[in-house]
Amino acid sequence: MEGVAQSPNLLVFAAFAGVAALAAIGVVAFPSALRSALCLVINFFVLAFLYFSLGAELLGITQIVVYTGAIMVLFLFVIMLLKLQAPALLHERQDFKIPLGLAFGAALFALIGAQVLGPLQGVFQMRADPGYGAPEPVGRALFSLYLWPFELASVLLLIGIVGSILLAKRKL
């Protein structure tokens, strides 16, 4: 590992990536739903730092706002509602599917890793401009070239609002 000696950045990355990977394993492995959710929170949080390391600062912070700040809180909310009513549900049994799933996952990882990621090993140069992730250029792009997808996303969120009310409101 001569790369490690040359670049402390690689060590930093390895630390972050290790935490993210461990947390992801935790999501899958913990039998308790809350533990899984907490691991996912950690994972999302660390991913935000990895986004920073890629220069995408706006997206990194959006990651924290959207995922850890809103989405995971909703998950925790539902988990708590369930704990209030049927605590036993949050702990699940294990069964035959586990070796099956693990085998499938290992196969997927090995296949893609060897075939697709293997040839990319030599790429070290970051070609994008370092300022590409600042709020201003991202905002400009979002409201000019990507106006149409942006508006579609607004329709999507509208559907989310109306839909969740239709599903969850007590009386309609």
Partner: protein, 445 residues
């Protein structure tokens, strides 16, 4: 004046900056507790803590000056928080048997984290080398992101305690924080648009411009502008709700939930929760001061321009301007103290909201208000840039009228066929209605 720090090793710089954030907040917490107790007691016409730190001078010692011998000197109970701290330290640390241990232990730490992480963005003065420690490009978003993490401490504490009251507190808190975060973000978005930057330091600088672009001797603090004022009100309400303080302290409503999410916590773990709450209060006050109250400027006066406008007293004004810059940290601290006082004042004045009132306020009043405000600000900016100020006035007035009409119509529709709010109960969870109402509090007691 703070450039000397640049000559140090980067590690030392970082250390100094971090200490500059963490130490004041940590040390201020006891002071805040003391101030809260004293101010509350004064407002409620009672005495409050005044015994600790009362010195009874010896009658015989020669070290004591004559006029003090045998007298008592009162320090208004200043040491009370330290006594409290000692008490909490020495208390037995009880961990209930059925708790989820890991989560139970990390919850207080998680609760303390956001306040300190936020402290890094507070601008303590025009000293770019020294403060804020992180003048990030994404400042306001960072504030929103980190403050949204505050919910985890409460939620985890509530979940891990294995106690229905705690769980209920956690549930309420997560719902409350998510609801009020939206309005908070919207209120800040208006300021972001007016400033054209997400940086908090840029916001402070933008507030040093002439008032309304017209009065050269005064500063344009956002709270003095009409849209900024609305934003400030929304932000103020939201920041009280985000810190779980009265009148939004439903997660720990003691008449319903004992002590809410920290019912099962004792000793230092409880103290950490407590500290987190006060640190968050302080930091939010700081954000409010920076974004709406002109940051580290003492008064909304542009000293240099005033000096040129009033040549007779130019020297005085110049001196005051220098003082304003040199002592910026103190002014900022003063504004934070003002914010904390407002917190305490609210606690002494307002009764706690019911859960449905809380949700109704957040979703039906604050969010529409903030969004309308945002739309009007956007209109204003676009119209002034494209068509000039007069068109902007027309557009904004028209939009204001249209939005208020829309709000009125929506309100009428929403109220139609709806029984009076006061007799409605709240059902937070499914199952047996009667039982649930009993748990959540139901119709107003």
């Amino acid at each position: 004046m703070s450039e000397w720090i640049n000559t140090l090793h980067p590690a030392w710089q970082a250390l100094i900056r971090v200490l500059l954030v963490v130490l004041p907040i940590l040390m201020l917490v006891p002071g805040m507790i003391w101030w809260e107790r004293r101010l509350l007691s004064w407002m409620q016409d009672r005495i409050g803590p005044n015994r600790v730190a009362t010195i009874t001078w010896s009658k015989t010692s020669r070290l004591v000056p004559g006029f003090l011998r045998g007298k008592k000197t009162h320090f208004f109970g200043l040491i009370q928080p330290i006594a409290d701290g000692v008490k909490l330290f020495l208390k037995e640390d009880i961990t209930p048997a059925a708790v989820d241990r890991v989560v139970y232990f990390i919850a207080p730490a998680v609760a303390l984290f956001p306040a300190f992480a936020l402290g890094g963005t507070l601008p303590w003065g025009p000293f770019p080398a020294l403060t804020p420690i992180a003048d990030v490009n994404i400042g306001v978003l960072y504030v929103l992101a980190v403050s949204s993490l505050g919910v985890y401490g409460v939620v985890l504490g509530g979940y891990a305690s294995d106690n229905k009251y705690s769980l209920m507190g956690g549930l309420r808190s997560s719902a409350q924080l998510i609801s009020y975060e939206l309005a908070m973000g919207m209120s800040l978005a208006g300021v972001v648009m007016a400033t054209g930057s997400l940086k908090i330091t840029e916001m402070v600088k933008a507030q040093e411009a002439p008032l309304w672009g017209a009065v050269p001797t005064l500063q344009n603090w956002f709270i003095f502008t009409p849209f900024g004022f609305i934003s400030a009100v929304v932000f103020l309400v939201c920041m009280v709700a985000e810190t779980n303080r009265a009148p939004f302290d439903l997660p720990e409503a003691e008449n319903e939930l004992i002590a809410g999410y920290h019912t099962e916590y004792s000793s230092m773990k409880f103290a950490v929760f407590f500290m987190g709450e006060y640190a968050a209060m302080f930091v939010f006050s700081g954000v409010f001061a920076a974004v709406f109250l002109g940051g580290y400027n003492l008064l909304p006066i542009r000293w240099d321009e005033t000096a040129t406008a009033v040549p007779a007293m130019a020297g005085l004004f110049k001196f005051l301007g220098q003082m304003n810059g040199a002592l910026a940290g103190f002014w900022f601290l003063g504004k934070c103290a003002l914010g904390i006082t407002a917190y305490i004042w609210l606690r002494a004045t307002l009764p706690r909201l019911r859960y449905d009132q809380l949700m109704s306020l957040g979703w039906r009043s604050l969010l529409p208000l903030a969004v309308s405000n945002l739309i009007v600000v956007a209109l204003w900016i676009v119209c002034t840039e494209v068509y000039g100020a007069s068109a902007a006035w027309i557009a904004v007035v028209a939009a204001g009228i249209a939005l208020s009409v829309a709000a009125g119509v929506a309100h009428r529709i929403a109220q139609r066929g709806r029984p009076n709010l006061e007799v409605r109960g709240v059902r937070l969870v499914g199952g047996n209605p009667a039982q649930d109402e009993a748990v959540v509090g139901g119709p107003a007691a």
